[in-house]
Amino acid sequence: MANKKSLHIESSGQLCIYCGACVGICPLNCIYLDETRITFDEKVCTRCEICVKACPVGAIEID
């Protein structure tokens, strides 16, 4: 996709509490949780924004 929106997961610890809620709901299974880091597969992610809603603390943003 040429102009995908950008998705940002704030997992440096300022907002993210590493709970894994985004990982379990991602319909494409493209978010990963290490103990203290969350990453996602930029190429697979379609910016469906479900993880944004599922995050209890608002650590995921799309713009």
Binding site: C19, G20, I25, N29, A54
Partner: protein, 396 residues
Amino acid sequence: MAADLKTDVLVIGGGPAGSMTAKWAAQAGASVLMIEKRQEIGSPVRCGEGMSKDWLHDVGIKPGRWVNLEVEGARIYSPSEKVFEINEKHAGNEVGYVVERVEFDKQLAIDAANAGVEVRLKTAATGILKENGKVVGAKVKQFGTTFDVRAKVTIGADGFESQVGRWAGISTNIAIRDMDTCLQYRMTNVDSDSRYCDFYLGKVAPGGYVWVFPKGDGLANVGIGVQVSQVQSMAEARNYLDAWIAAHPGYAKGKKIDMVGGGVSISAPLKQTVTDGFMLVGDAARMIDPLTGGGIANGCIAGKICGTVAAEAAQTGDTSKAFLDKYEKGWRARLEEKLYRNWLAKEKLTTLSDATFDKIIDALAGVRLEKLNVHNILKAVHEKYPEVTKEFEAFL
């Protein structure tokens, strides 16, 4: 590059479901490796720490120092805070004991280790090994080193994240109306009552509830689950929880000493939980009770069956889906009917208005039910508010 490993049974995830599965498989004579990606079993906690207790004996768990306190029952609060009390025996799978989850999870891992299970921490599965369509183990990373673990039977017990099953080819995807986004504070200096687990329904927590599970001496777990399909903006779980606390002086004066979050599935049971060489158990198999959000009991109950079948499969050498179906049938016989019934009830309850919740709780508060079941509840509501029970005709 570390040497590859071989085992009869590989359990991925060291939560309650994983430890139970591992223990029962080892007790039945299998060699078992349980891997856990965290550095500490049970921590950080993702749990309100409430559980029923009638199932513990059946699966071989003895109450120990992980029991925090015993409650008499649950109090269900309507939006205008009318209260309905339920005795602990009838109050669902989150009411009975309040526990220390870190201690509980560690005890189950100790029981597994003592039964002969090899436990490896800081060890994450990063993929599944397949040969001719059959799962034959997992790709694993430990302390930065990657290697293969080859197993006769591989078990996904990786909790809500539920990635391992999807790697193995089982869909564990759930709809957003079948998930609660949760946040909880442990608070001190609050007015919780150590005799009850409290649940607050209605718009304070759209599609979910606020819970207060007492830990004694003015300490309590105060948390919230909000149905994801009803979330309107970012950080909604936190915003609703903070608003609820601010509106309740007995809690607003409290102090937060920790914060945990997580996802809870409130879905109907999955269509499939086994495939060739592979089984799913616990939250990974979406076994949480969709009405209460409690998942510890169901994960442990299924874990016992899963471990027993895994050992049998490894010993007979038949690890086909057809053989592992024994587990599928076993856990469904024990849990499925209730899971499905409670999912239907959840589907209904998440659509009710505050006014309807008020009427239901008001009608129930005034009567003493001999036996708590859907029929008796609806009968009591019908006598006071016949218009409300119309919405529930499907349940009669």
